[in-house]
Amino acid sequence: MSTVAQYVLSGLAIGGIYALVALGFHIMWSAARAVNFAHGDTLMIGGLVAAYLVAIGWPLGLACLIAIVCGGLFGFVLERMAVRPFLGQSNSIGWMLTTIAVGIMVESIATIETQGYALPLPSPGITSSVQIMGAGLYPQELAIPVIALAAMAGLRVLQRRTLIGRAMQAVAYNKNAAALMGIDVNLVVAFSFALASLLGAAAGVLIAPVVQASATMGVLPGLKGFAIAIMGGITSAPGVVLTGLAYGVMEKFVEGYISTSAREIVGFSLMIVVLLAFPQGLFGKREVAKV
């Protein structure tokens, strides 16, 4: 029983990170029909900036806040420099290459800066573990899935209740019509990228105390977050968050009952099967284009 509880809880913790990353992909895709493939690196920016600021003596809370803002700023600038110039022409896929390129550059800079070492981010959330049904977990890890769900709910409120949220939905539905209604489409798209990156950086700050901040910490979560966004249906926020949590738990059970090296094989095979059965993802709606 304690083993099963351990796998479920550890899985929810890592799944929460996947969910936050996938939620970022959902936000970007909804607004721009493009995503930032360097999104995994916003985790790294969040984690590393926080670790550096704490190391030079800043209080943890402020360091994390600044780190998250830095992440958001990165998303904003990246949208302006590497996505918008390539979205003008129809069917342009230049943004794929440019966002990947920016990601590689940022990662290289981080490697030079850290010399490849991982940096610790001390947090009160990992000083001692708590026991739940025989499973041991850091409070920090317990907080992650909760925060992922809160982010999902927050996004819903934002979309329903605020002007910018409604504008995001309008842009997602039809860019040209939204522009004709007086919505500044460019601003909304830039806001979406910044918001997604804020979430990414927050995920980085959350996970860094547990896994350490390093130049490569965002690579795998970034890739898996994208896979989960596709699997869950990139147009559905609850879809990607729930899929993220479930994927994390599934991974732990594969590690526990099959083997650690089988984890990616099973995970990515599952992704292909899901896409064959549900081409729009598990929770995605078919997008009807009227011609």
Binding site: Q6, G136, S214, T216
Partner: protein, 396 residues
């Protein structure tokens, strides 16, 4: 058109023939040593350590007149831990830079990939870090792969001996990273245990950047292991320690030297008591050579406090490797590759890491390795610092 195509074909054939001929008649080696190591990627610190050690030795050698009347030079390439780049760098160092020898890097997968190109070309290779047994014991004759570093086969015996000293009921688990280095060590550890009439209770693996090791750690606990031998880097070892902390499981950890970088910083007090195999430490009483190197590390690289020097083994191994190569060049009286390869077997020197008497033994295929198990050193993590085990609070 057919004529033009024929002309182009002939031109191509001539180019290929010229290329072959010129590589066979490799002219004039230059007084340089090429290093292919990871200067970027997760083990970037290792490339920097090797560079420091090699540069210090080269500066000293040049200050006393260089080799065969010429100043020695270091040519640095980055392999980023990727075998294809290591192979490419090998060819570049040998054929473009025409260096006398190649210094190896951190990653075993790269070192193993370099075996073939090194022998195709016939340039001496001196490993200073990657410890894979087969990189050096590769069955080639003449063998151009030499090493001043640990050898996994011997490290496994060394760590198994330490594990058996600590264990109460002989239940030992093995944790290893899913890489060329980790997978290569599994048979070595099994063999070392079998020689003592024991076997592993579990062998658990994990990938780089894995973020939670709970399943593996729980299996080790359920198997009753009271000692864990670990073959990993700092980052993953930290995850193992944290997973143990979460389930309040406290076995003794005995690790290969991948966890000698910044584990103390990452895991904090959880790292205390983790034993690590090293080839060198700047925290023991230093020889004259050691004092000299420490002084240069301070003046040239600003490393004032010896306890803050990360990867001491890498620095020291690279330092000795350059000296052994310089000695061999002097004995050979030439920069010529085969002559230097032969001369390496005649080198004797009191090095920084160990006395090399002789450094290598042509008659023994196990002895293209200069460092022997008796030169290995046990260190232990204590309050964020890696200190010699002897005399530490854990030495009872």
């Amino acid at each position: 058109m057919p004529f033009q195509r024929f002309k182009r074909l002939r031109l191509m054939a001539a180019t290929v023939a010229f290329g072959l001929a010129s590589s066979a008649a490799m002219a004039e080696q230059q007084p340089c040593i090429g290093n292919s190591a990871a200067v970027t990627g997760p083990a970037a610190f290792s490339g920097l350590a090797i560079k420091m050690g090699a540069e210090i030795a080269i500066d000293e050698i040049n200050a006393s007149g260089g080799v065969l009347g010429k100043q020695l030079k270091l040519v640095q390439y980055d392999d980023a831990g990727a075998p294809p780049r290591g192979v490419d760098n090998t060819r570049r160092i040998a054929l473009a830079d025409k260096c006398i020898a190649i210094l190896g890097g951190f990653h075993s997968t790269v070192a193993v990939a370099q075996v073939d190109p090194v022998h195709e070309i016939g340039i001496p290779y001196m490993g200073v870090w990657a410890a894979n047994t087969k990189a050096i014991e590769n069955g080639k004759d003449p063998n151009f792969m030499f090493r001043i570093s640990a050898k996994d086969k011997w490290v496994a015996r060394f760590l198994v001996d330490e594990a058996l000293k600590v264990t109460k009921d002989g239940k030992i688990a093995f944790f290893y990273e899913n890489t060329g280095w980790g997978n290569g060590a599994l048979p070595d550890v099994k063999a070392a245990l079998a020689a003592k009439g024991k076997e592993l209770v579990v062998a658990e693996t994990f990938n780089w950047n894995d973020q939670d090791m709970s399943p593996q750690v729980m299996r080790a606990r359920d198997a009753g292991a009271d000692v864990i031998i670990i073959w990993s880097l700092d980052r993953e070892a930290n995850q193992v320690l944290r997973a143990m902390d979460k389930i309040s499981y406290k076995p003794t950890i005995v690790g290969a030297w991948g966890i000698s970088g910044n584990l103390g910083e990452l895991a904090g007090p959880l790292a205390n008591g983790t034993r690590v195999m090293q080839t060198y430490s700047f925290l023991t009483p230093q020889s004259e050579t050691g004092k000299k190197v420490l002084a240069t590390l301070e003046s040239k690289y600003g490393l004032k406090d010896p306890s803050t020097i990360k990867a001491a083994s890498g620095i020291a191994n690279a330092y000795d490797a350059v000296y052994l190569l310089a000695d061999a060049i002097k004995i050979a009286g030439s920069y010529d590759w085969p002559k230097v390869q032969q001369a390496l077997y005649q080198v004797e020197r009191d090095g920084l890491v160990a006395p090399y008497k002789p450094a290598f033994d042509k008659a023994d295929p196990e002895r293209n390795d200069a460092l022997l198990p008796e030169h290995y050193l046990l260190a232990v993590w204590h309050d964020g610092k890696l200190i010699p085990f002897a005399g530490s609070p854990y030495d009872k």
